[in-house]
Amino acid sequence: MSTNATDIELINGCINNNRRAQEHLYKKFYGPMASICLRYTRNHEDAIEVLHNGFLKVFKNIHTYDVSRASLYTWIRTIVINSAIDFVRQRGKFHTNIELEKVEEPAIDADAIQRMSAHEVLQLVQQLSPATQTVFNLYVVEGYNHREIANLLGISEGTSKWHLSEARKQLQKLLQTLQV
């Protein structure tokens, strides 16, 4: 999703605090960004709160956006993810009872995932604890490694690994409960 001339106009309008341009930008990226927020939160209300916080940061800092460095989508997505991380950090602590050097990888049947709809998978992910959910999203969906996650969340790599392991355990248990 590259930045085109329309986006440039939207950006200029947003820099001038033009409500119409902001509305266009908001609605253009509403779908993908809201989905991202939904992955990091437990319900729609929290997702919308994260989304709005993220867009507020976008509108406040859009004058710093550099077209040559990243597309508008990527830039907004990064901000929204960071907003989601802030939200999770504010809401809960990253409790770690065990710091793992190696991630225990419980076996999850790949067919079981494929048999589920995206909505069902999302519901499973949302049942994870916030910190675990965040680590899972960052590692599995966003593709961050444990060092990056540790930096983002302000935790150790071992803690990040533990959260990922915990997420897989919980998902495995949930899948078994659902008898998928």
Binding site: N17, E23, Y26, Y30, S35, R39, I48, H52, A118, H119
Partner: protein
């Protein structure tokens, strides 16, 4: 994994729009700098407007209102007369009217001194017109010793009578513009007679400057003549019964100074105008004692006498006596040349009745060049002009902050070290002085320490072993702000300033206390051990994001200025919270507002050159 978006975009946009309206109001120009740009601009504009308003009020001071008359007069006096003589005359003049006022009230019971004074003035003209050369003093005596209703008709009658007698009144009236005031001399002499030095009459609204003017130009000889004239005129005119019974006594007892004393009962400023008018005639009056004893002397003779003594017209020989001394005991003499000529202006008495119309020409009208020169001289020694007060100053401030309330001082610097010398780095300030009492000041504090109460920012607890809990907690202990204070100051007392303003503060960094505590739960009770405790700096990280970094504060300031140094106290209070968050979801919200008290020592390194023109011992900022 693309999920269906939650909710309706249009509906959620309304929420977003509300949020935007609150955070980024339209018209605020949320570019670089944000809406604070408008706050700052608005604050500056308001401060400038208020300061200008104060400055404008200061411009309209009494000194400036009187500058046209008093300033000129003062200049003339300063130029020609010794200041000692002036001061003595002024002080004595103020005292004299009270004595006379007391006489008047005692005799008439109901008396408007100003009305009496104007009446006396009117009569004086008439007396001069008659050519007797001495009637004016009789009239003054009447005015001073009779009630207003009785005085005014009598005076008017006299005036009409004398006008009929001849055109000399015109001569006399015109001659007042010469500025020679023998009456002033009489005033002075009479002032010397004053026996009641206290209880300054409220009716005497004559400024010292005016008194100086009216009293200086006189002829020493005229004093005696005037007093004698009074006696003779009273006897001659026959229309002053009261004079015989009362004024004559006064006159004799004071050997010729009673008239002037009686005149002083009233608004001496106005009356003195009249006296100044008469003064021009008084050279005719000025004569030897034998002249006085000839009540029927013709006007032509008086004019001749005036011509003979014209050389003494502008010469004033003051006679200064102590209050206890009788009149005529001269202590000091100083020749004074009068340069103010009066030809009339409109004067309204307290009762609202126009007593007399006249306009006057000040020295500025007659000698504009000289006045300009005098003004330039005066500006060097005083700060009457407010244009000179609009000056700049630049300097450094050395702050010293104190903890307030539950705030705790912390002996760590902005980098977490123990050397706190960096907390006392001087900060620059800039001042713009609207006048000698009001100025606006802006400053920059690049790393100002802000004491706070310990704020729990992060807490992590875990069970590291059975019956052993480990707590990791981080407390914010001290913050560092970039401050931009703008304040306006006004001086209610000399060298003492009070100020108020706004301060924009932006958090730069902070000092955090990191604690690791282990708690062992034993049957006896829990035992706590601090495993580690250290201070570290936090900046632009997850901890600092918990703070509201930008805030606006109310600023109050009092200070004392002396010789470029200023010592003062400054208190500021933030309008919004700098922390408002929950450490954990279940824990209560933490709120707190910043406030600080600073003692500071300020030094103006550079001040505008205009200020430096002043005397060395008197700094510009102390001139109030």
């Amino acid at each position: 994994m693309q999920l269906p978006p939650p909710g309706d975009p249009d509906q959620n946009w309304q929420q977003m729009k509300t949020l935007l309206d609150k955070s980024m109001p339209r018209g605020g120009g949320k570019g670089p700098g944000g809406s604070f740009r408008w706050w700052i601009a608005g604050t500056v504009v308001v401060a400038v407007v208020v300061g200008t308003w104060f400055g404008g009020k200061q411009l309209l001071t009494k000194d400036q209102r009187n500058e046209a008359v008093a300033g000129t007069i003062k200049t003339v006096n300063n130029k020609t007369a010794p200041s000692v003589a002036l001061e003595d005359k002024n002080s004595s003049q103020q005292a004299v009217p009270q004595t006379n006022a007391g006489n008047e009230s005692a005799q008439s019971g109901k008396h408007d001194p100003r009305g009496a004074a104007y009446a006396s003035v009117t009569e004086t003209q008439g007396a001069n017109a008659s050519g007797s050369g001495s009637n004016e003093q009789t009239a003054n005596s009447n005015a001073g010793n009779t009630t207003v209703p009785a005085t005014e008709p009598a005076n008017n009658q006299l005036t009409a009578k004398h006008d009929k007698a001849g055109g000399h009144s015109l001569t006399a009236g015109n001659s007042r513009s010469s500025g020679n005031t023998e009456n002033s001399a009489r005033l002075l002499a009479d002032n010397n007679n004053t026996s009641v030095p206290s209880n300054n009459s409220n009716n005497n609204k004559t400024t010292n400057h005016r008194n100086n003017i009216y009293s200086q130009p006189s002829n020493s000889n005229s004093r005696e003549n005037n007093s004698d004239n009074v006696k003779s005129d009273n006897a001659k005119s026959g229309n002053s019964n009261n004079i015989k019974s009362s004024n004559v006594n006064n006159i004799r007892s004071r050997s010729g100074h009673s008239n002037s004393g009686n005149r002083n009962n009233t608004a001496s400023g106005n009356r003195n105008h009249a006296n100044a008018e008469r003064g021009s005639n008084l050279p005719a009056v000025k004569s030897k004692r034998e002249k006085v004893n000839r009540p029927g002397k013709q006007a032509s003779d008086i004019i001749n006498a005036e011509n003979e003594d014209i050389k003494n017209r502008y010469t004033y020989t003051p006679v200064i006596s102590q209050p206890s001394q009788p009149s005529g005991s001269g202590l000091q003499e100083s020749p004074v040349t009068v340069k103010v000529n009066y030809t009339g202006t409109t004067v309204i008495s307290p009762s609202g009745v126009i007593q007399r119309e006249f306009t006057y020409y000040t020295q500025s009208d007659l000698f504009p060049d000289m006045v300009q020169r005098d003004k330039n001289t005066a500006r060097k020694s005083s700060r009457v002009s407010d244009d000179e007060d609009k000056t700049f100053a630049f300097g450094l401030s050395l702050p010293l902050a104190f903890p307030l309330g539950d705030q705790e001082a912390l002996g760590f610097n902005s980098r977490g070290g123990v050397n706190t010398i960096s907390d006392y780095i001087p900060s620059p300030h800039f001042q713009y002085h609207f006048n000698n009492k009001t100025y606006i000041q802006a400053g920059l504090q690049f790393s100002s320490p802000q004491f706070i109460r310990p704020i729990l920012l992060y807490e992590h607890e875990r069970m590291s072993a059975p019956n052993v809990m480990e707590y990791n907690s981080i407390y914010a202990r001290k913050l560092y702000y970039f401050n931009l204070p703008i304040s306006i100051h006004h001086s209610p007392l000399r060298n003492f300033y009070m100020g108020a303003g706004l301060q924009f503060s932006s958090m730069m960094s902070g000092i955090a206390q990191v604690q690791q505590i282990k708690r062992f739960y034993t049957p006896i009770g829990p035992d706590e051990y601090i495993m580690s405790n250290y201070y570290t700096k936090f900046k632009n990280d997850s901890l600092s994001h918990r703070f509201n970094t930008n805030e606006l504060r109310l600023l109050l300031d009092i200070n004392y200025y002396w010789n470029r140094f200023t010592v003062g106290l400054q208190y500021n209070q933030a309008f919004n919270n700098y922390v408002s968050f929950q450490v954990n979801p279940g824990s209560p919200y933490i709120f707190d507002k910043n406030k600080s008290l600073q003692f500071y020592l300020r030094y103006n390194i550079w001040e505008d050159k205009k200020r430096n023109k002043l005397s060395k011992n008197q700094s510009v900022l102390t001139l109030k």
